[in-house]
């Protein structure tokens, strides 16, 4: 018999290394000789979209488009340390460092423009579309490229951002270990085959707090991917450890979700800007995963009335639980 059920899961996730550990990102913003903006930062693109999101933050800060950003992140030689691509910290932490470096560069550009345009104040000066100009008299303008040509030494600013975290009190665990917290809620509908013990996830929905969306398409990709990994965690993935030996050490035995296992996921991006985030953004790489697996487990209970306290809920485990119930 096939039985359907629904379930939800809620989760939260505190960004960063936590517990007072120095959580620092450094970034450099430089005026390149062609007038483009060079960003030098040791932040890794692991597939999550760091290169794109961090360039969007730089472009926003400099008032240019991302085509005008030159982004260097692949070598320890020419980049400052931006911490690890982990703890959902790159958008938040390194995004902040880049924004600060760009703001410093912008000030540097204004300072030079005041001199070149023979102005006596920074009041009313705008930086936009690769030029610095006086808003009330836009004819008085100088392009980034012209500034670059006039430079005798490179115009480059390095800034850092350190996340707010305190060490918790030893005996009580009281304190402010992480910031910001990101919230996530999943709902799913499953169909359980009581003959085979097989669980199919039919539909899923995710409402994801993002602070502010830097790139909605990349955010949606994180949600789909986080759900997929949670689906494997809840229902499939098992190393079959035996006396310390991984028995399932190939893709023919260690089963991860395929396109046929994944349901369509309705993705709802919830914006509530985080004041300490770059333009209000929070990281989502991990938050998108935490609430999904328990939603599936709650839906299984709703469908067939058995509480699965151990994951993964493989068909044999579920059949055993169904038999015990009867």
């Amino acid at each position: 018999m096939k039985k359907r059920g629904i379930g939800i899961g809620c989760g939260f996730y505190g960004t960063g290394y936590g517990n007072g550990f120095p959580d620092v990102s450094r970034a450099r913003a430089k005026l390149e000789t062609d007038g483009k903006i060079g960003i030098y930062v040791g932040a890794t693109e692991v597939g999550q979209g760091a290169k794109t999101v961090l360039q969007q933050i730089a472009a926003e800060a400099m008032g240019v488009s991302i085509e005008d950003i030159k982004f260097y992140c692949e070598s320890t030689e020419n980049t400052p340390d931006a911490g690890t691509a982990a703890a959902s910290r790159q958008t938040y932490n390194t995004g902040n460092a880049i924004k600060k470096a760009c703001e410093a560069l912008k000030e540097g550009l204004i300072y030079i423009a005041i001199d070149k345009l023979l102005l006596n104040s920074a009041v009313g000066i705008r930086v936009e579309n690769k030029k610095v100009y006086l808003e009330s008299y836009p004819q008085s303008a100088i392009s980034f490229e012209d500034i670059a040509k006039a430079l005798t030494e490179p115009l480059c600013f390095e800034e850092s951002f350190t996340a707010g975290t305190t060490k918790m009190e030893e005996e009580s665990g009281q304190g402010a270990p992480y910031w910001p917290y990101t919230f996530s809620v999943y709902g799913v509908e499953v169909e359980v085959d009581t003959q085979t013990g097989f669980v199919e996830v039919l539909k899923a929905v995710c409402a994801q707090d993002v602070g502010r969306a830097i790139n909605p398409q990349l955010l949606e990709g994180q949600i789909d991917g986080g759900f997929s990994m949670a689906l494997g965690y809840a229902l499939m993935e098992d190393l079959r450890l035996t006396n310390g030996e991984i028995r399932n050490n190939r893709f023919s035995s260690y089963i991860i979700p395929t396109a046929l296992d994944m349901p369509e996921v309705k993705k709802i991006i919830v914006e509530d800007p985080e004041v300490t985030g770059p333009y209000g953004a929070k990281g989502v790489g991990e938050p998108v995963m935490v609430a999904a697996a328990p939603a599936i487990l709650n839906a299984i209970y709703n469908a067939v009335g058995v509480r699965m306290r151990e994951i993964p809920v493989t068909p044999d485990r579920l059949l055993e639980a169904l038999m015990e119930k009867e």
């Binding site: 936590g18 693109e45 597939g47 665990g173 809620v185 539909k203 990349l218 919830v270 306290r309």
Partner: protein
């Protein structure tokens, strides 16, 4: 008015990836390069003696690296408890023992077969709770318990006494793999006074530091290049082949490449900590959570990696996103002879929802409340405090998230606990 933020920009690394031009470390080739292959422990706990004589005699074998070749034979993100190559003892299956450098992959493979390892097996422990017993085999010199995180808020005992509903359960999660699609690979070579290591990593600057410390080389003599990375999810935070390759290139002076098979990838990188989580959660007659007590035991396998931080994150997130005035959490992490666990997407905060979210549904059922209504009554709102006493002063849109999911579920899902045929 934001112009770039909020835009669905096409990913900048996309064009190279859809055309096959993106270079992952296995895609790098150099003239005259050699191939490296790792010999790994086949036993979970044993004293070892290594004899490479016969393998070294094989035609095409250039060098075989062992612990004797490493100036400071250790690394690790929190403690330096990994050996670059095991010297006297192996602590888990898959521990690296030697690294063969040969003129072809095939010869390297043949040489691996010819290295003789004498294993004198020691009793092992494969269960985290057993590993906490005083008579359990010790994985390292000190005891197996690495860290105990304590969270105390209010008084759980008196709160349990006045509860209208209590749920008490034990939950277990499994050890799982990141299973990123790109197996570990790397290429190292000399460039002037520097050794260059091309590798897919989450943190090139930290890799450089680990190489520097193990090889006793100043940082400026090492360059780490991080080309395209084929997924990570936490599994590329710890060192795998970086130090082996750097050492090989330095000692031989030629480029050396290594590519792991999928099986070796499973053996080489960290895993998600499995946890046993015993929860007791209570609510009053109005459906407000009043107390939660949890004991969480995590298995970090043979090496600590991020064990302390992971188990602490599990402890801090153990309540779920709910206001609970009385909380007692004890989370422990221990060494065993299992494969080592470390960072993986969620980092401790992925395990605890398996428990706290099922506890929520169980309590809702006992109280005859709708699970959504029960969550809305208890979830964090701006101005609330977490169990660690942290004030959530703004950007807490959890009610909105629950409402949106609930609304969509009402419109788009049919069956609520029933047979369909």
């Amino acid at each position: 008015m934001l112009k770039q933020v909020g835009k669905a920009e096409i990913r900048v690394d996309g064009p190279a990836k859809v055309t096959g031009r993106a270079s992952y470390p296995q895609d790098l080739y150099m003239a005259g390069m050699l191939y490296g292959k790792t010999l790994r422990s086949s036993k979970p706990h044993a004293e070892i003696t290594i004899d490479t004589t016969e393998a070294e005699g094989l035609k095409g074998v250039i060098k075989i690296l062992t612990f004797k070749d490493v100036p400071h034979n250790h690394y690790g993100v929190l403690f330096k408890d990994h050996e670059v190559f095991c010297s006297k003892k192996v602590r888990s299956i898959g521990d690296p023992i030697a690294f063969v450098i040969a003129t072809s992959e095939k010869i390297a493979h043949m040489a691996i077969e010819k290295i003789k390892i004498d294993y004198r097996e020691l009793p092992g422990v494969f269960d985290a709770i057993e590993a906490m017993q005083s008579d359990a085999p010790k994985i390292h010199d000190k005891g197996n318990l690495i860290y105990h995180y304590k969270l105390r808020r209010g008084n759980v005992e008196s709160a349990f006494d006045r509860a209208a509903a209590v749920a008490e359960n034990t939950y277990r999660t499994s050890m799982v793999d990141h299973a990123f699609l790109q197996p570990e690979a790397g290429l190292a070579y000399l460039e002037g006074s520097q050794v260059v290591v091309c590798v897919a990593t989450q943190y090139p600057h930290f890799d450089r530091q680990e190489i520097s410390e193990a090889l006793a080389l100043p940082l400026d003599r090492i360059k780490v290049i991080n080309p395209a990375v084929g997924g990570a999810f936490g599994g590329r935070e710890d060192i795998t082949l970086q130090i082996h390759l750097a050492l090989a290139a330095i000692l031989i002076g030629r480029p050396v490449k290594a590519v792991y098979s999928r099986e070796e990838s499973f053996a080489a990188h960290s895993k998600r900590h499995p946890m046993v989580m015993t929860y007791k959660t209570a609510a009053d007659a109005e459906g407000k959570l009043i107390a939660m007590e949890a004991s969480i035991v995590g298995d970090t396998g043979a090496y600590a990696s991020w064990a302390i931080n992971v188990i602490r994150k599990a402890g801090v997130h153990a309540t779920g996103p709910y206001v609970i005035p009385n909380v007692k959490v004890d989370s422990y992490v221990v060494y065993t002879n299992n494969p080592f666990a470390g960072a993986m997407r969620g980092f401790g905060a992925t395990q605890v929802p398996i428990a706290h979210e099922q506890q929520m549904d169980i309590l809702a059922e006992k109280l005859r409340l709708d699970p959504i209504e029960f969550r809305l009554k208890n979830c964090f709102k701006p101005g609330d405090r977490t169990a660690t006493g942290q004030l959530l002063h703004h950007s807490v849109p959890l009610v909105e998230c629950i409402d949106k999911v609930s609304e969509w579920m009402n419109q788009n899902t049919g069956a609520d606990g029933g047979a369909i045929e």
